[in-house]
């Protein structure tokens, strides 16, 4: 029996371990520590203030607005994204279209474009005078629906949601295609023999067998929404008309980078982390993870 070269293994993993500690663990602990202080960017005199930042946070109306907006996005975006990505994945694997690989490319493309570019492109789409959306509505004789999409408090957040969904569908579609490919064809054939329509195949065969994958992609989509909504909110609306499209991470950025309140910004970050963890735990339980 050959002896395990322990020293060699240790040396090989050491660089990666060091990098992880220095660039991920240490800043994370620092962030947790900072959230209990009132330090600012130039903090020559930061004091330990315990839970003051957190107390202020829950009374801060801008924070509450950002939190509500983030919750709305988290409620709507993952579900719609996964719904469409499942349908597309199903169509791409089950149908006999010749242009399958072309569609795969087209659907996946948005998820590899830089998110800032996505934001800028959609800003132009929603532009009140030069954007194609208002133009399209005019052509379809629906001029009454025209509005300043990104400047209107009621629609600004949903414009960001649309951009998020558009960008993410392809990414999760690919995951679902891989998962569906894992379902043996015999199951579908058996269903076809029993007289199932495509509709029934989708709901009675695909979804149940994909439950685990859907659970995973849902959690990924949730965390993706929290993270990516920052970039889009920053680029498209800068927090929107009076905070109507501000999200948690974007408000954290404002407080940290613009107002230089590092301590407070870290408190917001900790809260966001906490929310993300709770939601991930809940959704894994609900989708019945057996592991």
């Amino acid at each position: 029996m050959t002896k395990k070269p322990k020293l060699f293994i240790a040396i090989c993993t050491l660089p990666a371990l060091l990098l992880t500690i220095i660039f991920m663990l240490v800043p994370m602990c620092n962030a947790i520590y900072l959230s209990f202080t009132n330090s600012t960017a130039l903090s020559s005199n930061s004091k330990f203030v315990f839970l003051d930042n957190y107390k202020y946070m829950f009374g801060d109306k801008l924070f509450i607005l950002a939190f509500q907006n983030t919750l709305k996005l988290m409620a709507a975006v993952p579900i719609i994204t996964l719904f469409f990505s499942l349908i597309f994945a199903f169509v791409l694997t089950q149908s006999k279209l010749r242009e399958k690989s072309f569609y795969r490319l087209v659907f996946f493309f948005p998820s590899i474009i830089s998110l800032t570019v996505v934001g800028i492109v959609w800003s132009f789409v929603f532009n009140p005078t030069k954007g194609i959306l208002n133009h399209l509505l005019e052509i379809l004789n629906l001029s009454s629906l025209q509005r300043a999409w990104l400047g209107d408090a009621k629609t600004a957040l949903w414009c960001i949601a649309v951009a998020l969904i558009w960008q993410a569908i392809g990414y999760y579609m690919v995951m679902h295609v891989a998962a569906i490919d894992g379902i043996s064809n015999e199951v579908y054939e058996a269903a076809a023999i029993d007289g199932a329509s495509s509709f029934a195949k989708f709901f009675r065969v695909t979804i149940p067998m994909l439950k685990n994958t859907i659970g995973i992609t849902y959690v990924l989509s949730l965390s993706g929404t929290i993270n990516l909504s920052f970039t889009l909110s920053n680029v498209m609306t800068a927090g929107g008309p009076n905070g109507a499209s501000s999200v948690l991470l974007q408000y954290m950025y404002t407080q940290g980078m613009r107002n230089a309140n590092y301590g407070y910004a870290m408190a917001i970050a900790m809260f966001t982390l906490f929310i993300a963890i709770i939601l991930a735990v809940i959704s894994r339980k609900v989708t019945g993870n057996k592991e």
Binding site: T40, P128, T129, A148, W149, P241, N242, R258
Partner: protein, 468 residues
């Protein structure tokens, strides 16, 4: 064996090329130039040094462009032997120097306003991280002909824009001043015989007239940056309530915003959108879009300052467009028509490595040569008493006239700056006052709610002050 060697080599290449990303943080547009070697010969007020001196300056590149800065840096290096100026100039200068400041390595000299979106200078003020430069103004000017502070336009150095802690100690130096108000197309007004409005009623009546005769909207503004509306809000409040009203607001006093003097002013602003005088789509436009719309003749007025001429120099305009500026409307005939001063600022960080040279540079910037360069390259006027005359031969008649609106009847100049925030404050006052405007313009918020939200912000600031 050979395969292993090749694989190892490839891996090495990969690792080394990934390290190429580690370099010194880039300046987006860095300019350095060599200074002459050898013994330095001192000119009127330079330091006598035997070694090379380096000055690091960080400049915000805005509507005035960078031609002036390139020229004045060159001139400074020519007249000060042994000095090298490393200039970083960029529209996003705050993002560039913020990490340097946080790391304890700030530039020696900064040209950036405290009203900028990035809040950098505001946070430096909050943390008391700027150098006291009162001695520069108490001392000689660059030409050696007198005290520097006598050269500066009256009233600037004592205002909170320069002495933010209210104790008369100067931490920020004035750069340029210029009027801000309603910019319009002089040709369009003369051709159509439209009269410039004095009161808000005149303003709206004119709006109706223009809509009927020409079809263009009365007013537009830089929608996603409602802070531009300070050019209307503060002068209008000053006209209605005098300097006491303004000073009370600057001091975050209770009841200074939600009262019967300020509310009627807020209602006039709301009326612009509520009664259809606002160019449709304005709230979603950025500054260049809104300004373009006005230049193309889709709106009669826009709030802006004299930099607009330079900023929109290459933009398409309607036929025969001529720039002109008029003060903001007042509530009653006979009220003083205030004009908000745009004053940009210079500052020197407390931890600057080379503060003496930075102060010398500051002194140099007020010299006649520098003022002339500014007029020539940026079509704008420094904050010195003689600057407008020096500038006259370089700036267009339109700009010269814009600077002249202070001389019109019954006008007064207004410098408005909030007092320094307590260091633990999490509020951005400018946001609190101006962000609600978008909601008000959209009809989602009433003026009472707007006024009350500002009062709530003031109350929080007063509480933070107590707790400090």
């Amino acid at each position: 064996m050979k395969r292993k060697a090749v694989a190892f080599l490839l891996m090495l290449t990969l690792v080394i090329s990934s390290l190429a990303g580690c370099g010194t943080s880039g300046d987006s547009e860095s300019k350095t130039s060599e200074a002459t070697e050898g013994e330095t010969t001192a000119s009127a007020a330079t330091e006598n040094t035997d070694e090379q001196q380096e000055l690091n300056i960080a400049i915000f590149q805005g509507g005035y462009g960078d031609a002036y800065w390139n020229a004045v840096v060159e001139l400074f290096e020519e007249t000060h032997e042994g000095v090298t100026v490393n200039m970083t100039i960029s529209p996003t200068i705050a993002d560039i120097i913020r990490p340097q400041i946080v790391a304890g390595n700030p530039p020696d000299f900064i040209a950036l306003n405290d009203t900028q979106e990035d809040g950098l200078i505001l946070s430096l003020i909050k943390d008391r991280a700027l150098l006291d430069i009162t001695d520069v103004f108490e001392g000689e000017n660059y030409a050696g002909t007198g005290t520097l502070k006598d050269d500066i336009i009256d009233g600037l150095l004592e205002s909170t824009k320069c002495a933010p802690y209210g104790d008369g100690v100067i931490y920020l130096a004035p750069f340029n001043t210029g009027p801000q108000g309603l910019i319009y197309n002089k040709t369009a007004f003369t051709d159509n015989s439209w009269e410039l409005p004095v009161t808000w009623d005149d303003f709206f009546a004119l709006g109706d007239q223009i809509k009927e005769e020409d079809g263009r909207s009365l007013f537009t503004y830089q929608g996603i940056y409602p802070g531009y509306l300070e050019e209307i809000l503060w002068p209008a409040i000053a006209s209605a309530g005098g300097m006491e009203a303004i000073n009370a607001i600057c001091a975050y006093e209770e009841g200074s915003f939600n009262n019967e003097v300020v509310l009627p002013v807020l209602e006039q602003i709301q009326k612009i959108a509520a009664d259809g005088y606002l160019l449709p789509g304005t709230v979603g436009m950025n500054h260049t879009e809104a300004q373009s719309e006005m230049l193309l003749g889709n709106a009669a007025f826009i709030t802006n300052g004299t930099w607009m001429v330079n900023e929109m120099a290459d933009a398409p305009t309607e036929e025969g467009f001529e720039y002109a500026m008029t003060p903001v409307p007042v509530l009653d005939e006979g009220d003083t028509r205030y004009i908000l001063d745009a004053m940009e600022q210079f500052s020197i960080p407390l931890d600057a490595k080379n503060p003496e040279l930075a102060k010398e540079f500051l002194r140099f910037l007020y010299s006649d040569e520098s003022v002339a360069l500014f007029a020539q390259h940026a079509s704008a006027v420094f904050a010195t008493k003689t600057a407008r005359d020096i500038a006259k031969e370089y700036i267009t008649e339109a700009i010269y006239n814009m600077y002249g609106i202070y001389e019109a009847d019954n006008t007064a100049s207004l410098l408005m700056n909030f007092e320094a925030l307590p260091s633990n404050s999490k509020i951005n006052v400018s946001d609190e006052v101006f962000n609600p405007i978008t909601s008000v313009m959209n009809g989602d918020m009433t003026v009472e709610e707007w006024a009350q939200s500002v009062e709530d912000a003031f109350a929080q600031i007063r509480a933070d002050r107590e707790a400090e």
